[in-house]
């Protein structure tokens, strides 16, 4: 029965860790989504502020990636990193490029939302 209790303890640890990692992914991806929403609004209204904000977002993404890389597939994160790397350059161009900058922001936002959608314990993901 000793093994039974050891297995039970391990199972509890696994469940705790799985729930924690799921909540962590949710928190990080929602934080990034909120930042991107702010950036989208700024891109439409104040281009200079959007440039500063996009530089801050790049740093925030680097930090978030350190957490997500342990929990989510690297290919997905690599794709987002590639897009985020373009942001500052796109934001620093003149307003004629703002259409591409906005499109890129929406693209990144959908991919960031997908990180959480793919990890959420829903029936769609389970089956």
């Amino acid at each position: 029965m000793k093994r039974f209790w050891i297995a039970l303890a391990i199972m509890l640890a696994l469940v705790t860790f799985s729930c924690y990692s799921m909540l962590r992914v949710r928190y990080v991806s929602h934080q990034l989504s909120d930042r991107l929403d702010t950036l989208i609004i700024l891109a439409e209204e104040d281009h200079t502020a959007a440039l500063l904000e996009s530089a801050a977002f790049v740093k925030e993404w680097d930090q978030a990636q350190q957490t997500l890389i342990r929990l989510v597939g690297h290919a997905q994160l690599g794709e987002i990193s590639g897009l985020v790397a373009r942001l500052t350059a796109l934001a620093s161009h003149d307003t004629q490029e703002s259409g591409e900058f906005l499109a890129e922001l929406y693209h990144i936002r959908s991919m960031v939302d997908h990180i959480w959608e793919a990890e959420a314990p829903t029936l769609r993901n389970l089956f």
Binding site: M1, F4, A7, I10, S18, R70, G73
Partner: protein
């Protein structure tokens, strides 16, 4: 490449730990659920080793989950005969009183070739020698021969046991290390051991193997230089 190496080492220790937690059932003959778990674990373990883009926890969590569920299902089988029957099945008698039960063989998809192969593996070449044969849940065939064909035992030959033959020999010294519990189990003293080693002209550290029974008969193998 270094990542692959480190992940392999980590997963190796996790699997060894998992096998230890699951217990000796995995190392002996496999029940159906044990076989499934073993195959699953080996397949899952290769994923994070081959694909470095997958987080390592993607391999560790399912492996440990399977280990835990194996322990739970075996604990449940221990407590509940119904659970045992559902998880492992039940042994099936295919030869009863020397007669083949062809219906059970058909249900098991156990052919005559399978039967004869397993009988030959047990040294039986004539079906008429078998009184009872049972297909265990592991797929192994357990055989009970008719009386004239059973190996003679000391009891049937009415041979009285020589003294000190109740317990099997034990390893007293293994690769230069004294096993005190084994020495005590054979009712032998350290003084006896010291006398034996002196007669053989060696020390404990120079002995590769010393096995002895409670009758003080022994086998000693010295280490090769």
């Amino acid at each position: 490449m270094l990542i692959v190496l480190i992940r392999t080492i980590i997963l190796y220790f996790i699997i060894v730990l998992g096998t230890r937690i699951m217990g000796k059932r995995q190392l002996g003959e496999l029940q159906p659920s044990d076989l499934v778990i073993t195959i699953l674990i080996s397949n899952i373990a290769t994923l994070p080793i081959e694909e470095t883009e997958i987080p390592l926890v993607t391999g560790i969590i399912p492996i440990l989950t399977l280990v835990c569920f194996e322990v739970f299902s075996s604990a449940l089988s221990l407590k509940s005969p119904l659970a045992r029957r559902l998880i492992s099945g039940r042994p099936i008698v295919i030869i009863q009183n020397g007669r083949l039960n062809q219906k059970e063989m058909r249900d098991l998809r156990f052919s005559l070739d399978d039967l004869m192969e397993q009988l030959r593996g047990s040294g039986i070449f004539d079906l008429s020698e078998v009184q009872l044969a049972i297909v265990e849940t592991t797929g192994k065939l357990s055989i009970y021969q008719k009386f004239p064909y059973r190996p003679a035992t000391a009891q049937t030959l009415q041979i009285p046991p020589p003294p000190g033959q109740d317990n099997p020999p034990r390893v007293i010294i293994s690769d230069g290390v004294l096993q005190k519990k084994a020495l005590a189990a054979c009712n032998l003293s350290e003084r006896w051991l010291a006398g034996l080693l002196q007669a053989e002209g060696c020390t404990v550290q120079e002995v590769f193997l010393l096995s002895a029974g409670s009758g003080a008969d022994y086998l000693l193998v010295k280490k090769e230089r």
